[in-house]
Structures are given as C-alpha cells and as structure tokens.
C-alpha cells in the first residue's frame, strides 16, 4: 500500500513537471506572439500588409507555409539583413530588394519570426531565441 502511494506521488510529480514545462512554452509562445505583433506592425506591415497579404509584385505575401518551412533557417537572416535575391513564393517570382533591419536585436528577430510563422494561416510552433541566434550567426 505504502509503495503504491509513493509511486503515485512520484508519477504525479513527473506529470506535474511535464505540464508545467508545456505551460512555460505556451507562455513563451504567447509572449513572443504579442511582442512579435508589435514589431511586425512597426517594421513589416507597411509592405507585407496587415494580414500578410503582400503588395502586388513588390512585396511577397507571408502566407506560403511551404516556403516558410523549407526556408526555416534562413527566415531570421531575411528579417535582419533583408533579401537581395529572387524568391519564389506561391509559385510567383519576387525580385524586389527587401531592406535590412539592423536595429533588430536577436530576440526581436525571434519574436517577429514566431509571430509570422504562427499567423496568417501558418502554424509552425515556437522557436526559442537561442536557435534564432544560431541561425543569425550562419547568415550568408
């Protein structure tokens, strides 16, 4: 009987840890999303639109989940350093230059990236700041 009680307490403890871990990630995600939205409004929305719809052939939409997924490790570089190459989004070619945003700190880049990849119909989940920092060091 005693063993049974100790075991169940132990299991409850483990479950408690897992649940609280998940909660921490959910909290982080919400935190990134709300800060990311503010940064998006200030830096990205002019060209990419309130709902990530883009602007004609001048600025690509941010709704191509496949593009976002295949270029996952380059997104942070695009956000911080801009883009000066032609990109295929939703099967269309976009050749305009995207400006750099050197004023964004790594954490800002991470937050706005998480916001974009989890808005406008995208759902790619949370990416911690540390991973984004790594991506930024490997920018070409």
């Amino acid at each position: 009987m005693r063993k049974y009680i100790i075991n169940s307490i132990f299991f409850l403890f483990i479950i408690g840890i897992i649940v609280s871990c998940q909660n921490q990630e959910t909290i982080d995600l919400q935190n990134y999303m709300s800060n990311g939205k503010d940064i998006y409004k200030a830096k990205c929305q002019n060209c990419h639109g309130e709902n990530g719809e883009g602007l004609g052939e001048l600025a690509p939409p941010l709704t191509d989940s496949v593009f976002l997924k295949t270029n996952k490790n380059r997104l942070a570089c695009f956000i911080k350093n801009g883009a000066n190459e032609s990109l295929i989004v939703h099967g269309k070619e976009y050749k305009e230059k995207m400006p750099a945003f050197p004023e964004l700190a790594d954490i800002d880049v991470a937050q706005v990236m998480v916001y974009i990849t989890n808005s406008f119909g995208n759902k790619q989940g949370f990416v911690p700041y540390s991973e984004v920092s790594k991506d930024l060091q490997n920018c070409k």
Partner: protein, 216 residues
Amino acid sequence: MNKITAYIATCLLVVSIFTACKQERKLPFYGERHAETVRDAAGIEKIDTVYQTIPNWSFLNQDSIVTTNKATDGKIYIADFFFTSCTTICPTMHRNLMTVYNEFKTNPDVMFVSHTIDFKYDRPHVLKKYAKKLGVDGPKWLFLYGSKDSVYTLAEKNYLVAVGEDSTAKDGYIHQGYLVLIDKDRRIRGAYDGTKEEQVEQLKKDIPVLLAEYKK
C-alpha cells in the same frame, strides 16, 4: 375630426422642416482665396471668391512621354507624392490608393497622379516597373518624373504637401502621405492621410459627392 386634421398638419410640417434641413453635402475648398470683382454674362459687376488652383505643369510619365496638366482636363484627380524605394509610408499609401483605384477605374472622370520625389533614381522606366508590379497599367494612373525644383515647389506651394530630402531618414527622403483631391477646375477639395484606412474610406465617399457637383 378637427383634431385629426391638426395632427396631420403638424406631421407634415415636421416632415417638411426635416427635409428642408437636409442639405446636399458639398466639399470644402482648401488653400488661399481672395475676392475679385468679375462681370457676369449680363455685364453686371459682382464680387466673387477666387480659390487657389494647381498651376500648369509638365512632366515625364511612366512611358517617358511628356505629360502636361492637359491630361487631367475635365477630370477630377487624386494626387500624391512618393518614391519607389520608400519602405515607410508609401507602400501603405499605395496599398490604400489601389483600393480607390479599383473602385473608380471604370469611371472616365477620375484620374490618379503620383509624383516621385526621388529625382535621382526614379526615372520613368523605374516608375513603369513599379506601376506594373503594383498592378497598375494604362494612362488612368500617371506616375510622373520631374526635376527636384519643379516637383518640390508644386508639392509645397500648390498641393500643400511637405516633401524634402533628409540624409538622416532611412530612405533619404521625408514626405507627408496625403492624397489630395483636385476638382475639374483644379481647386483643392480634400486631403486625406493615405496611411489611414478610415480617411481613405472617406475619400471614396467624397469622390461621388465631388462628381455630383458637375452633373447639373
């Protein structure tokens, strides 16, 4: 019986007062104005108000064709100042202006005129590429290129929009994002902040009001 008649009379009176109060909405006139004595057709002298008008202009359009104010004769038009490499307010302005363009593109009495303030880079072929990528084709929306002096003077003195070069600004230029509504007599009848959706909605409502003035 008498009571009913009196009641109906009161109702009619109230209705007529209300309809009398409902005036046709008219757009204001912007800019300077002065009084001038003019003679009407019968030769009688009277005092009239003269409003500020847009002077003659001549610029290159996106097809490198010399375009003058004659292009807007008999039309109302919406003018704005922008540059193609602008990453701040211009994309929003033109995103909003596109919705106006799409609503009125079949109306032959409405035109759009965008002046670039980047006299160094925005040559006509750059403007052409920009227009195409924005989704605009044809002469209904003019993208005009001119010398710094001519465009900046026109902006500040005539359209009342502040523009300028500023080396400290991110893209090198600063300007206001007004969409200026000009009537068929080249008078300024409205100025709307092109970065604010509700003001652009107001512009869409004001265009028919202005057009109605000429339908008499």
